[in-house]
Each structure stands twice: as structure tokens, then as C-alpha cells.
């Protein structure tokens, strides 16, 4: 083992409090720390102002406070090709994609990691709330200690080979503690608010953003048995289980999106949070990544998450060909959404995950969910 001072760790720094503290902790542990800001998206406005410039400025200030070298790299092209194109394709297909999962897989832990390695780095560190544990020479990804912030959901596509070279310095910490440390060290990002939503959209209106890239086709809003309830602005603007923005009021229970028909350009809505149309008992996942493929049997039980910040659900997983898997739920689940990730856990160990492709109920694919 090399001494910490001879171990180079490149920290992916966003200009936020988490990656700032990640760099701080590594520096305190005596590593040879290098901070790198990654620019993936150009949001320069008409005045030439771009939030990336402000964020990079924060990275510069934090790195100077920590006395570590800092640089910036540009992955706009790779991001566009690998993440944004995928994002648009999924919306075009009527699904609700998770670009952060793909960004981690293709950009942060691939292109950016390669870049870090080209700088002679031994490790790549990020401010994610997740943990890497080594046991008998094998590397495992564990949930972050802060249950509320655990980000393994977004990291489900990482391989063991990648995990070997990754550090998550915040994994054992709770978010309030991270803020407290930033404050104690007087880091300029200590009080900076967390970024919300999808990175390239930022604080902007999602609908407006999407309409700049995809033509919206308004159409009818119907109940499952064909009663017209109103008009929708374009199927891509809606996701399963959504209640807001439908514009249907009136008596009785509130209305929810329960499905879409892309061919007919119809949005299906039904009444009541617990409407049975929103429930399913299984799914087919594609592009399933197993962090330790050799430890996965053909069929096993574990827990799963179908969206970020959801409770664990008990499931039975059956491996299929072509990187697919069938997942049967122990209990009915509400609003499981195609395009989102399904991520598997054995206790705190993340086993991997895939993309939700089909939703199943009573052994039949639900065609109305899109």
C-alpha cells in the first residue's frame, strides 16, 4: 500500500458543499488531492453568464482554501452524445428517464474517470452518499450511512472494476454533519443550497426546457374506458402517478395519470390515489448490471427500489437472457414507471440494477403504462 501522501486522488468537484467536504476530508487524511470541475452542459444566457462559471468559481475558492491544485475539463460533447440523446429518446418513447444514472455510468465514472487516471490518479473521489467496502479483495458498494441521502440508486450501473478505484469520502456521514464540517472550516460553499432536479435543467421550468428540444403534440385526456376528461399538452410532460398539472377538478377524489397511448396520443387518467390501475406486481428490467455477476443465482429474493427515496420493497428476481431480469413484487407497488431504474439490495449492499422496461400485473404486461 502506498502512503496517503503518495496516493493521488482526483475529486470531481461541482462547486457544491458535498464535493467540497469530500475534498476537505481527503486533504485532512493526507492524500495528494486534485480538484477537477467538470462542465457537461452549456447554459450560457444572452448576457454571456453561465452557472458553470459561478460554480467553477466556487471550486476555485474552495481549492484555494484547501491549498490543492484545481482544473476544469469539458465533457459537453460526450454528455450530449451519451446522456442527453438518451434522455430525449426516452421522452420520445413516452418514458421517464433517469439521466443521472447514465451520467454516472458514461461520464463521471467512465470518461471523467479515464481523465483522472490520465493524470496519474490512484482514485477518483466524488461527494456521493454511498460507501465502498473491501472484503477479501472484493469491492462492494454499500448504501450511504445517511438513509435520507443514500445515492446508490444513481450508482447502480457501476462495475466492481470501477469501484476498486473509487472513494466516497462522505459515505459514512450524515448530511447535517457535512454542512457542519464545511462551516467549521469556513468553506465558501458551506451555506450553498443543494442543486435540485436534473443538472442541465437546473432551476428552469421542465416543460419549457423539454419543449425546446421535442415537439409537443397535444391530445386527449381520457379515462381507461374512453371518457374524455380534457386535453393534455404532450405526452412527454406527464409521468405515471402524477397529480399536479392535469387541470381536472370537480367533485370526488383527485385525478392521477395512470398511463399513455403513444399511437393514439392519449393520456389516461383515473380517480383516487389508490386507484387500482396504478398498481402492478412485477416488471421486466433491461440493461441489468450486476456488480458481482458471479454471485448472482438464477433466482433469488432481495429488496429493491423503483425510484429514488423510496422504501425498500421485497422482490424475487429471476435472471433472463440478454441482460434482462424479471422482478416479482411481494406486495403490489404503486406507479412503477418505465424508464426509471430498479435497484437491488441485499441489506445495505447494492447488488446492481437495471432500467424498468415493462410493467407486469397478473402475469401480463401492462400496455397502457407506455
Amino acid at each position: 500500500m502506498k502512503d496517503n501522501k503518495d496516493t493521488r486522488v482526483v475529486v470531481g468537484m461541482s462547486g457544491g458543499v458535498d464535493s467540497s467536504v469530500a475534498a476537505l476530508l481527503l486533504k485532512e487524511q493526507g492524500y495528494d488531492v486534485v480538484g477537477i470541475f467538470m462542465k457537461n452542459w452549456d447554459d450560457t444566457d444572452e448576457f454571456g453568464v453561465c452557472t458553470a462559471t459561478e460554480d467553477f468559481d466556487d471550486v476555485v475558492r474552495v481549492c484555494n482554501q484547501l491549498d490543492i491544485p484545481y482544473y476544469s475539463v469539458n465533457f459537453e460533447k460526450q454528455y450530449w452524445d451519451k446522456v442527453f440523446t438518451y434522455f430525449l429518446d426516452e421522452y420520445k418513447a413516452g418514458r421517464t428517464p433517469n439521466p443521472d444514472v447514465i451520467c454516472n455510468k458514461e461520464i463521471k465514472f467512465k470518461a471523467f474517470m479515464d481523465h483522472a487516471m490520465s493524470l496519474g490518479a490512484d482514485y477518483l473521489a466524488t461527494g456521493h452518499y454511498a460507501q465502498v467496502k473491501e472484503e477479501d479483495g472484493r469491492y462492494y458498494m454499500l448504501r450511504g450511512a445517511d438513509d435520507n441521502k443514500d445515492q446508490t440508486y444513481f450508482l447502480n450501473q457501476l462495475s466492481e472494476e470501477v469501484l476498486e478505484k473509487v472513494m466516497f469520502p462522505l459515505g459514512h456521514l450524515e448530511k447535517p454533519k457535512v454542512r457542519e464540517m464545511a462551516k467549521k472550516h469556513d468553506l465558501v460553499t458551506a451555506a450553498k443550497k443543494d442543486s435540485t432536479g436534473i443538472c442541465f435543467i437546473g432551476e428552469r421550468n421542465f416543460k419549457e426546457f423539454l419543449s425546446e428540444y421535442l415537439p409537443a403534440q397535444p391530445g386527449e385526456m381520457q379515462t381507461m374506458n374512453g371518457t374524455v376528461k380534457g386535453r393534455h399538452d404532450g405526452l412527454m410532460y406527464y409521468t405515471l402517478g402524477q397529480r399536479q398539472g392535469l387541470g381536472i377538478g370537480g367533485a370526488g377524489d383527485p385525478w392521477f395519470v395512470v398511463g399513455k397511448d403513444l399511437k393514439k396520443n392519449v393520456l389516461y387518467v383515473e380517480q383516487g390515489f389508490a386507484n387500482e390501475k396504478l398498481y402492478s406486481d412485477g416488471l421486466i428490467a433491461t440493461d441489468v448490471n450486476w456488480i458481482h455477476p458471479e454471485q448472482i443465482t438464477d433466482q433469488f429474493t432481495c429488496t429493491a427500489k423503483f425510484r429514488y427515496r423510496q422504501k425498500n420493497s421485497n422482490v424475487t428476481v429471476t435472471k433472463m437472457e440478454d441482460g434482462k431480469a424479471r422482478v416479482d413484487f411481494a406486495n403490489m407497488e404503486r406507479a412503477v414507471t418505465p424508464g426509471q431504474a430498479v435497484v437491488f439490495y441485499d441489506g445495505d449492499v447494492c447488488l446492481g440494477g437495471g432500467t424498468i422496461d415493462e410493467i407486469i400485473k397478473n402475469n401480463r404486461a401492462l400496455d397502457y403504462v407506455g
Partner: protein, 381 residues
Amino acid sequence: MEAIYLDHAATTPMDPRVLEAMQPVYQEVFGNPSSVHSFGRKARQWLDAARRVMAGSIGANEKEIIFTSGGTEADNLALIGTAMANRDKGNHIITTVQEHHATLHTAEYLETQGFKVTFLPVDESGSVKVEHLEQALRDDTILVSVMYVNNETGVVQPIAEIGAVLRDHQAYFHTDAVQAFGLLDLDVTELGVDMLTVSSHKINGPKGIGFLYAADHVKLQALQFGGEQERKRRPGTENVPGAVGFQKAVELAQKNKEANQKRYQHFRQLFLDELRNENIRFDVNGEETATVPSIVNLSFPGTNVETLLMNFDLDGVAASSGSACTAGSVEPSHVLSAMFGSDHACTTNSIRFSFGSYNTEENVTEAAWRVARIVKRLTER
């Protein structure tokens, strides 16, 4: 590992003798040169002495030296100041595509103010052609601005020839001589220039001061308003300590000009020889024989600027590129784009190394080895 500085075209370390010259000024000569008392007069004496040295260094008259905050301000004053003051004579300006941004962006600003600007091209040698200037010249041209030495490639531009072409034309001729001072002959009469920019920190002087030479006949409008300093052309209390340091730097640069030329020439040759010995692939951008000895711009096929510069820095070699990398936005070098076309690989894989007072044979050799090691590692992956 000791970091080695090969970025003297960006800025230079201050000569200890410059610091020594400045020290007494801070405490003993604190007066305001405009004041009507002994403290003020003393400061004025020092300022005048500095101005005399500036003027002498380029064969100008003392009254023709305007102290500024540096090269950028001098370029701005030269372009905007004369364009605005000479609108009655025409609204056409000529400059080149490979100017420093201090000139380029100022010219672009003038375009927004209704001036017509012609940007002369450069060829692969890195030099602007006199015939292109002749073709672009119009009766209503009021200003021509061409840098003396390009800051990225080090290529010397045909200033005296352009000066000769413009001798009988109404257009003022400005040259940004920031990278030339201390290495090339700078006589404003021989060059035929009406305005010339010099910066102190590029010649081992203090930062924050420079001057614009503006010939007596040049009609120039001030860009800022206030007192009557610098004959009203640049109001604001003068930077006396800076001027004194600048003066010392100019004196040293003049005294050591030939020795420095030889020394930097030797360093550059040594650097290139060592790289060739290491058998790495590289090309020299710009006509090697037409450059100042202090600058060499190298393209490393199969690499990219971002990775190169970070690796150089982490391994203790300080160099730079013309590509501006702020917040991760990589703009290919505008100079190399002008020479080779914007899609040419060298616009994104080229590094400028510039030699100067910080260097020794040992650290130049060591730097070449470090560079070779990194380039090998990156291209053999």
C-alpha cells in the same frame, strides 16, 4: 519536486533589483505628483525620471508616454481613443485575426459602435502579409493595429514594412509590442509607428503598470475622466512606485538585451534538442526562424491541451496554451485556428513554452524530460 516555470510570456518574476529600486518610493516618496508642495514635487521628480527612461527606450519624446495600468489598458486607449477622436476622417480600422484579446475584443467593440473593421488573415508561417494590408487599406482607414510579436507563437510581424506602407496614409499605426520589448529593436521612428504598447510585468517589472506611446500628432480621446494627469489622456493619481520599478526593469532589459537573446535562444534550442532526443512526436507551430527566441509553440499529436497542461502542472512544468479554459469551456486557440484552420488538430493539442529569467540550463533540460515523459505516457496508452 520543484516546479519549473516556462511561462514567461504570461508574466515574469520581478527582478530583485527592481524591487530594491521600488522600496524607498513606497515610504519616502509617497506624495501625490500633482500636489503643489515639496512632497508632491519629489514624487513628480521620480515619475519624470521614469518617463524619460521609457521615452528613451523607444526613441520617443517624454510627452509621448502615457502611463497606464498595463498592456490591456494601453491597447484599449490606443484603439478606442483614436477611433472616437478621428471619426471625422473615416470609420475604417484594420487589425489582424491573431491579435491579443486586448486588441481583438476592443476592435469587436468598435464594430458595435459603427466602425468597420477588417481583420487581416495570417498564413501557416504565423505572419501577416504586407500585401494583404495594402489591399485592405482604404481612403477612410483611420487606424491600423498589428502586434509586433505574437504572444502564442512568438512570430515577429513585419512592423517596419507596414510602417513604410502607412507613411503617406492618414491612418495611425499602432503596435502592441508587449512581447517584443527587451528582445527586439524598438525605435518608433524606424518602425514608423504612431502608437506602441509596452507592459512592465512581461520584462521582470512590477504588475499593474504599462505605457502607451502616442506620437505628439496623434489625436486621442481619454477613456476615463478625472484629473489632468498624463496630460488629461489618462486621469488618476499616478502609480509612482510602479513607474520607478518599471523604469528599472526597462533599464535592465535594455542593458541585457543581447545577452538575453542569446540565453533564451540557447534555452529554446536545448529544450527542442532534448525533446528530439527523447523521440517524442511534436511539431513547431509558426516559422521557427521568424520567432523571438523566448517563445516556442509545440503541437503534440495524439494529445489534448487539457490533459497536457494538467499533467505538466502536476509534474512541475508550468506552461500554457492559447486555448482559454475557463470553467471547462475549451475554446481552440484563435491564433492557431487563424494559421491552420479551426478544425486542425494542432488548435487543441498545442502548448506554448516561454523562456526567461527564471530559467537555467538545468531546469530547461529537466523540464524537457518531464514533458517527454508525460507525452510518452499519454500517447502510448
